[in-house]
Symmetry: C2
DNA sequence: CGTCAAGTGTCAGTGACTGTCGTTAGCCTC
DNA sequence: GAGGCTAACGACAGTCACTGACACTTGACG
């Protein structure tokens, strides 16, 4: 909201190059696999030198997360905008759902949503990318914890609850993300449903006795 | 419990080489940093060829987790041994604590415990290693979820609770691990205390209103 | 012993990444 | 609108992680 005046030709060119590299990378990655794609192939597709690629991205991995990063920033904004009367978990829950609903607007300037969804799958199924994804998520968690703490007027380092709440929330999101990416339905609807269903299970999962109703599992799907 | 008879000279030699490589790697990593040590330096310290290193470890990273892997296997055993009347979270909690208490016996055959503790720190403070660590943890979580499900006679894929419970537990463990590694006290006592304290906060962190007692945080440490 | 296979070393090659340096091209000033 | 400044780029050389191929050494075992 401060550099609107006009970025100047130089900046615009840079942005275009960066977007083109990210898009080309994502297309190649999702098409022939992450490991089987070389940086040279990406740069050839955009017609820049390899050196330029590494000026925009610290590594091959980073190109895979360029778009995801945009959605994460948006998510943080959504959390910030949540009314203060909501409990932390409630605020987080609504923010994620809202984030899914606005995915299109967040992403379409760089790549089609469909490609972004496939990127998700790619990350979950590529060990090297999954590792980086989890580390990035951990960093996001720290930011979230500080946000929640601020929201509740607490000191993150004095009160464990913000970090614990965020950890619980993120843990569940991880599970749903994984299940979604390996399941058949890659629609936004599918992950919305999974998200709410699993978040609803946090309470039950923490009770002492899981067998209140229907001992011996293998129940209906 | 089945290959006790005597591993044979060949096997023993292999084990020695592998341990020596792991130990040398850990010493070098913790000493001069992960990125600043080359595979050649490790192999020179053990006096084997680089090729041999890669026959024992899929990559440089894997050498950093060789010992940690032993403790994880031990942890799984401990969970399996927990009496069935304990709730899932209770069983997990007791198993971790027990694991810390028996760390010495688990690890000392390869490296001194002190080096293992420094390895923990190293992993937390090295982005590349942290990423891999988190991925490995995710794999462990899946195993844990199946274990818990079995324990409770449930189907992991039908009932979300095993995975959710494990996710909650792991999330909290992550937080404590991180705080411990960045804090000053690297003793086993310290992480034990942190662990119990944070696990006790899961309940409170999920309640609607965090301000039951003492509005506006900044409470005592 | 002699044979067989597992374990190892050597070498050549690929791909990710980095430092350096000369060149190009927006930008800004007069 | 010519010229100087500097950000961005391309070209090149070098390091390091990792892999495949092949020849050699050495436990294992009849």
């Amino acid at each position: 909201m401060d550099t609107l005046p006009r970025p100047g030709l130089r900046e615009r060119k840079k942005q275009r190059t960066r977007d083109a590299l990210a898009r080309a990378a994502l297309e190649l990655f999702t098409d022939k696999g992450y490991e089987r794609t070389t940086v040279d192939e990406i740069t050839e597709a955009v017609d820049v030198s390899q050196r330029t690629f590494f000026r925009y991205f610290a590594g091959k991995e980073e190109a895979a997360f360029a778009v995801l990063e945009m959605t994460e920033a948006h998510f943080l904004d959504l959390v910030r905008e949540r009314p203060p009367h909501e409990s932390p978990l409630e605020a987080l829950r609504r923010a994620v759902l809202e984030n899914w609903d606005t995915l299109n607007e967040t992403v379409e300037s760089v790549i089609p949503v469909e490609l972004h969804m496939r990127t998700f799958q790619l990350i979950e199924s590529t060990p090297a990318l999954l590792a980086v994804h989890l580390r990035r998520t951990a960093e996001l968690e720290e930011k979230l914890a500080r946000l929640i703490a601020e929201r509740e007027g607490l000191d993150v380092d004095a009160d464990p609850r913000p970090r614990v709440a965020v950890a619980v929330f993120s843990g569940v999101m991880r599970v749903t993300g994984r299940l979604w990416s390996t399941g058949g339905d890659l629609s936004v609807e599918a992950i919305r449903t999974l998200t709410t269903a699993y978040l609803d299970q946090v309470g039950p999962a923490l009770t002492k006795d899981w067998n209140i109703q229907g001992k011996r599992g293998k129940g209906p799907a």
